[in-house]
């Protein structure tokens, strides 16, 4: 295997850093994300002449930005991972169901897929939040709902073409059950396409979570996420730009890295899909 380009390497390093912070970020700050210090409100980062105790500054309640960013990042990553797993599981399962039963079942599933694809997801998310009220459970379900249709469409497509391959016919002729055929034989063969889809879907979920939290309709205080910190910071742009800029930069670099790694992964995993290097 060729060494990946420098840019991809940097992106991978950054994602590893994000994962590390999400798991073990507490080491970066002695404070909890809710610890207030009203005597040190809106302090700039320490390297810009702020309080030396607060490396990245404090917010309107004197809460340490490092502690808040770590907690917010953890929340954003956790929600995005749960959403991705949920969406991928449901989407892949429904894709298999559609390809297995064909006919009416398939038509129905694909109609729902088309329906969701024809509307901007944020509209669907806002509707459900408005009618059912915000709760953590609904919010995670919403994150799963974002993009499930892509997995379903992709899975159905690849299963239909894989099922007619000689290896699938051979396994079927040997008397294996359909479940065994799908799980042990077809799924591993379509895994790489699904992994690529995963890398496309994950940044989208991060973006929709941060957007909803930014609008005040996602993660609710006392919990916090990157989007929510950013939304908080919008009201303090004139005197405390750092509250908005740090979480925004982290979101940007994370989604950018994810896209770069996703692109590289697509080229690496799927030689048939390999885009012409033009």
């Amino acid at each position: 295997m060729r060494r990946p380009p420098l840019l991809v390497l940097f992106a991978m390093l950054f994602l590893a850093f994000v994962a590390f912070v999400a798991i073990a970020g507490n080491v970066f700050s002695p404070y909890a994300h809710t610890d207030q210090n009203l005597l040190a409100r809106l302090k700039p980062p320490s390297f810009l002449g702020g309080d030396p105790r607060y490396l990245l500054g404090t917010d309107r309640l004197g809460r340490d930005m490092v502690a808040r960013l770590v907690y917010g990042l953890r929340m954003s990553v956790m929600v995005a991972v749960m959403g991705t797993v949920l969406g991928a599981t449901v989407g892949i399962a429904l894709g298999f169901v559609a390809a297995h039963f064909r006919g009416f079942v398939e038509e129905t599933i694909m109609a729902v897929v088309d329906f969701q694809a024809s509307l901007p997801f944020i509209l669907i998310a806002l509707t459900l939040l408005a009618f059912f009220g915000n709760s953590m459970t609904l919010f995670i379900i919403l994150m799963g709902l974002q993009g499930w249709e892509n997995y379903a469409r992709l899975t159905r497509g690849v299963v239909l073409s894989a099922a007619s391959q000689p290896y699938a016919q051979a396994v079927r002729a040997l008397g294996s059950s359909p479940l065994r055929l799908y799980w042990k034989h077809i799924l591993p063969n379509v895994a790489s396409a699904l992994i690529v889809q995963l890398t496309l879907n994950f940044p989208q979920i991060v973006l929709i979570e941060t957007a909803l939290s930014f609008l005040g309709l996602g993660i609710q205080p006392p919990m916090t996420s990157l989007g929510q910190i950013l939304g908080d910071g919008r009201d303090y742009l004139s005197n405390a730009w750092w509250i908005a800029v740090w979480p925004g930069t982290i979101i940007f670099l994370t989604t950018l890295s994810m896209s770069i790694v996703g692109d590289a992964l697509r080229d690496y995993l799927d030689p048939t899909l390999k885009r012409q290097r033009v």
């Binding site: 459900l128 973006l207 989007g227």
Partner: protein
């Protein structure tokens, strides 16, 4: 020369075109019906519509009137029929917050969103398409890489953060542009740039790949051999052929634009439909939310339909394929 054969061929081409349009129209209607039905189901499963749609201090006669108007005392199938009639006639009830007709409230906001949306869309198309063509012509040069880097950044940079960066730079540091609200054309610059630039990036990326595909075709080499000038080869041969996929993506991007407007209007306190939607969701003003969702969905379906129809006009192969 005109022959009888040509005449029938012409007539049948028109017939196929009409059939193609009818099929598309039918599909759009089905999607629309699905949207209305989905909203109806959500409205009924999330609780008593009287409680969700009327203010908590509604008087008894108001509640009765509402039950009457929406047919809540009748069986579910009749309610559903009544619901469709109400929606079709634009009767969405009253806002929970100020008791005004929902349709009036929305009508006030629509021009603002249209103004912002059309400007952003113009920015996106006028910037994205030429940049994509330019990148394709200069492929693998510095210009190409620069344009494509911006396009990738446009995808990864969330629009709410991009908007905030613009406010920090142009309103707070340089003090050149107003940070929010409306009033002058200056107020429009940052929201339209935020919304337009990200879409321009996506369009540029797509236009570039569509152009590259066409540029590799034999007929362009043939045109070059014939002595067609470079300019004509690009403008008269390559661009029209690349236009087909680009128009589709332009239609799909309208969805991104609508989704983006919801966020961007909130960032810049723009008094449009998107901000109304966000504030209505926050205060759970469900009569307004319901009407807005239906309206935006309608717009999306209509836009997709227009793209589909345009697609048939642009690409004769689609018309011919419809024959089979």
């Amino acid at each position: 020369m005109w022959t009888a054969h040509d005449a029938t061929a012409g007539r049948s081409a028109v017939a196929h075109m009409l059939r193609f349009w009818l099929v598309k129209l039918l599909r759009a209607s089905i999607t629309l019906w699905l949207v209305v039905t989905a909203v109806f189901i959500v409205l009924r499963t999330s609780g008593d519509p009287v409680q969700s749609l009327l203010p908590p201090d509604a008087r008894q006669e108001e509640i009765e009137q509402f039950r009457e108007a929406w047919g809540l005392d009748r069986p579910l199938t009749e309610q559903y029929a009544q619901y469709i009639v109400n929606v079709a006639t634009g009767d969405f009830g009253k806002s929970y917050r100020d008791g005004r007709q929902v349709s009036t409230i929305i009508a006030e906001r629509v021009p603002w969103t249209l103004m912002l949306g059309l400007t952003s869309y113009a920015v996106a198309v006028l910037l994205g398409v030429p940049l994509g063509i330019w990148a394709a012509i200069r492929r693998n040069t510095f210009v190409d890489r620069l344009i494509m880097s911006f396009a990738v950044m446009g995808f990864a940079l969330p629009n709410f953060f991009f908007g905030i960066l613009l406010i920090l730079l142009f309103s707070l540091s340089l003090r050149m542009l107003p940070s929010s609200g409306t009033g002058t054309w200056m107020h429009m610059i940052m929201p339209a740039a935020t919304l337009g630039l990200a879409t321009a990036g996506a369009l540029a990326r797509f236009t570039r790949s569509a152009m590259l595909e066409v540029l590799g075709k034999v007929y362009l080499r043939a045109a070059a051999a014939k002595g067609v000038s470079f300019r004509d080869r690009i403008l008269r041969h390559a661009v029209p052929n690349a236009a087909i996929p680009v128009v589709t993506v332009m239609g799909l991007n309208l969805g991104h634009l609508v989704g983006g407007a919801i966020v961007v209007e909130t960032v810049f306190a723009w008094p449009g439909v998107g901000r109304l939607l966000v504030s209505s969701v926050s205060s759970r003003d469900l009569a307004v939310v319901q009407a807005l969702v239906l309206m935006i969905a309608c717009t999306m379906v209509a836009a997709n339909l227009i793209v589909d129809l345009l697609y048939g006009v642009l690409d004769p192969r689609i018309r011919i394929a419809a024959k089979d």
